[in-house]
Symmetry: C2
Subunit: 243 residues, 2 copies
Amino acid sequence: MESRFFAARLPTCAGAKMNQDIDIYTDLQHRLISNGFAHGEKLRAEQLKHEYGCSASTVREALFRLSAQRLVDFQEQRGFRVPEKSATLLAELTHLRILLEGEGTVLSIRHGGVAWEARLTAAHHQLSHIESRIHGSDDPSQLVDIWFQAEREFHETLISSCRSQTLKESHLHVFIRFRQQLMVADRSFDFISANIEQHYQIMVAALAGDEALTRQKIHDHLARHLDPANRTQDPGFAKSSAM
Amino acid sequence: MESRFFAARLPTCAGAKMNQDIDIYTDLQHRLISNGFAHGEKLRAEQLKHEYGCSASTVREALFRLSAQRLVDFQEQRGFRVPEKSATLLAELTHLRILLEGEGTVLSIRHGGVAWEARLTAAHHQLSHIESRIHGSDDPSQLVDIWFQAEREFHETLISSCRSQTLKESHLHVFIRFRQQLMVADRSFDFISANIEQHYQIMVAALAGDEALTRQKIHDHLARHLDPANRTQDPGFAKSSAM
DNA sequence: AAATTTGTTTTTTTTGAAATTTTTGAGATT
DNA sequence: AATCTCAAAAATTTCAAAAAAAACAAATTT
């Protein structure tokens, strides 16, 4: 009965008894931002309950929480779905990331002190290490998850000393949806070479305490996702006045 | 059985059969931002089910959705609560409002055109009308709900032409939590005189297309909530570079 | 053939009650 | 008096099945 808990997904925990509520929620969230489901896929509680060895209501509850974060679409009387991919949505999320991450980083520059600089250096070092490995690898597919984690850690560290829990939460929320939009696209790592340089420049600007330059570098780093003409429409996105 | 649906709260609908799911969620949300519950109050599904004439699970589901919006605090194994009042949280939400509303308004200035200007004028006219009535009234308590609605409409109109659904959603999310924090405090309307002037100045700056001034006026309008030394701590909030 | 109605199947929602967990508080121990 | 233990009470979570709604297919009508 409990032998099928996460058996396929989290082999190290297989068979272990754990708090289902947290784990279903966390596991679904992870799958939703790392290619565990296809965009647009229907999420049926009746089906998922078998994978998690619990009742449909418990899954339903987790899906509701995820839908309030917009990681799952919910429609009254017609259930749950993974959101579709959308160039427009990605551009909007990118715009918000630039705004929130820029603001948070500037505040961290002002309030973070040496401890923050040390953490930023450390996070960059880790990320840099992984990005180099990806750069030199023929098949980086094994490294995707590790890279996601390190990238997230770097960007979270940037804003970590902003002294606003709410800003951090909003940023995380946007970051995760951004990641969900990219979960298919970003796996080939053509961009990795430019990325290494961009992360470095963000760090340098931040450590130098240059607020305007830091915002600029964050913008440059994310700019390629801003333009829905990344294959689609309407390039008419206004630059934030912060630039 | 259905005679107690919202009987006390929404008299115009009393007795009418309606979609419970939407209505429970909507009604709870409304109560949560308009003094329908005390800060810190426990929200028991078993109790609320009587008020809404449905089962506890249905209430629970609505509470879960509200908790994901942070309008309700949820803790594993110990249920739901209305969030406490917190000067720090209010300051953080204010900071985010300034950031998002400033950005959205500037984008609206760029993209909105005459139609937006017309809507903004209209929204301001309505708000202005209500604020004048409040200003001249001895007991403005009847007007609280109407004012909330008109104020929200004005601020939503400001950003309505920003061309980012996501920015609007994020702003609404912050706006509602901000309102929840103020649901007790704002009912005496000492500030109404200053408010009338501030709303006017925001509109004038926006219609003039002066982006920097508009941001400044939005900041000034909200500034009184920024300082946790609004009776409490840490005045060290950095001004957004956008100012 | 297109559109509408009818009946069947599947999916989603709601429910009430069982199982689990936390809280409470009376009595025992330090 | 303060702390600890443990059983009773209260609250929360989980569940399987009933009810409601939507989706689908077949038959009928326009």
